[in-house]
Symmetry: C2
Subunit: 237 residues, 2 copies
């Protein structure tokens, strides 16, 4: 994990043709507000493996993910890692009440974020309840996902975990890029293991087992769901 070397894009970007305009926080803003909002955020790039912010860092910015995938995780003092989620375009990161981030966030592959300084963003929200409502909506959705993930971590077997992960990840990609039985997996096996509360070996073995049974095909950078119904049956169990 190297130091976070960011590159700042020159100007010339407009919220109105932003890729996540319609489903990120900014979806709640009207065209006039959007022009004002535009001045608050700036696009920043991160390379794969770079850390965007760390747990316990004082929060100075919020982030709107525009492109790429991020892993969000917490570490125990002895180095054990739990990935609490993967962020995709449209996800809004950095909200907290302690003034510090409560998890770390790394880029997986190249990432583009829209970065907002905390204070100006806070002032902008102040008299725009619809934006606050939007943020609240996103928080509540995340909370629901977090609870689902607790069930997975606490009560599901390795097979169920992997099957549930594949379906859930596919579902999220579907809503971004449309339906497909080919599921790209930009994250490493170790990332998947740390997300599912397993070891890398168990994840690898489970993938291999699913492939042997003709349920999936392991392809470069992802898997292909040969028998989606079977995957769903495994996840439902």
């Amino acid at each position: 994990m190297k130091a976070s070397v960011v590159t700042i894009e020159p100007g010339g970007h407009f919220c109105s043709d932003c890729a996540v305009r319609d489903f990120a926080v900014c979806a709640s803003l009207d065209p006039a507000e959007l022009r004002e909002f535009e001045h608050l955020g700036r696009r920043v790039h991160f390379d794969g493996g770079e850390t965007v912010f760390s747990e316990e860092d004082i929060t100075t910015s919020f982030y709107n993910l525009l492109e790429g995938v991020m892993r969000l995780y917490k570490l125990l003092p002895d180095g054990r890692r739990q990935i609490v989620g993967f962020a995709l375009p449209g996800d809004f990161l950095g909200m907290n009440i302690s003034g510090r981030h409560n998890f770390s966030a790394d880029a997986i592959g190249t990432v583009t974020v829209c970065q907002f300084a905390k204070a100006p963003f806070g002032r902008f929200i102040e008299d725009r309840p619809h934006l606050l409502r939007r943020i609240n909506e996103l928080a509540i959705r995340e909370l629901s996902q977090a609870r689902d993930h607790m069930v997975l971590l606490g009560r599901r077997s390795a097979d169920e975990k992997v099957a549930t992960f594949l379906l859930g990840w596919r579902e999220r990609l579907v809503s971004l890029k449309g339906s497909s039985d080919t599921v790209p997996l930009p994250m490493s096996r170790q990332d998947i293991a740390d997300y599912l509360g397993l070891t890398i070996e168990t994840v690898s073995r489970t993938f291999t087992k699913l492939e042997r049974h003709g349920v999936i095909e392991i392809i470069h950078g992802g898997v292909s769901l040969l028998d989606p119904a079977k995957v769903e049956a495994l996840a439902a169990a």
Copy 2:
């Protein structure tokens, strides 16, 4: 789990002398608003074991817990249960975006809630951004707790889980009732197991082991922390 037979208190309750006035959602309301707010909620009692609302039920009310403890949980189709949290006085329940509750909630022992019909409550929030901000704050705090719990479920050993649970539960009680090394545990061993992603036997054995080592004393309806530092050491590991 019997049918939820509720008893509705007669009138005569005032938000101004409500026990949770200062730290629940209503903490964000000024005295004038509070008088209006008063008409929206009504106090309802539940006996131990009664279900206040169920996962997948259409949300018709929100709840502000006034007295008692609740278990919040999700069930898998085959009956496995994951408790996603315990609610204490001041906790606000029922927010969701799907229009359905995404977990079930039972009373553990006798419980009093302040129940709000969804529509009037929604209307009341509409032009009161400070209340919305308060709700958002509570959601974000819960999200942070949810992430902490994911780390526990995915990456901690049984001993660590139990020690972390005891400390976390004590901490929550401290902020309600003040400090004490005696930790009341109103929930059953099965509840604790389903919260920690363990079996009842493992929870029981871990308690016994901690007692044998002189770390805790198991008392009627709870435990006493004989060596809090040792418990913290176990939880930190």
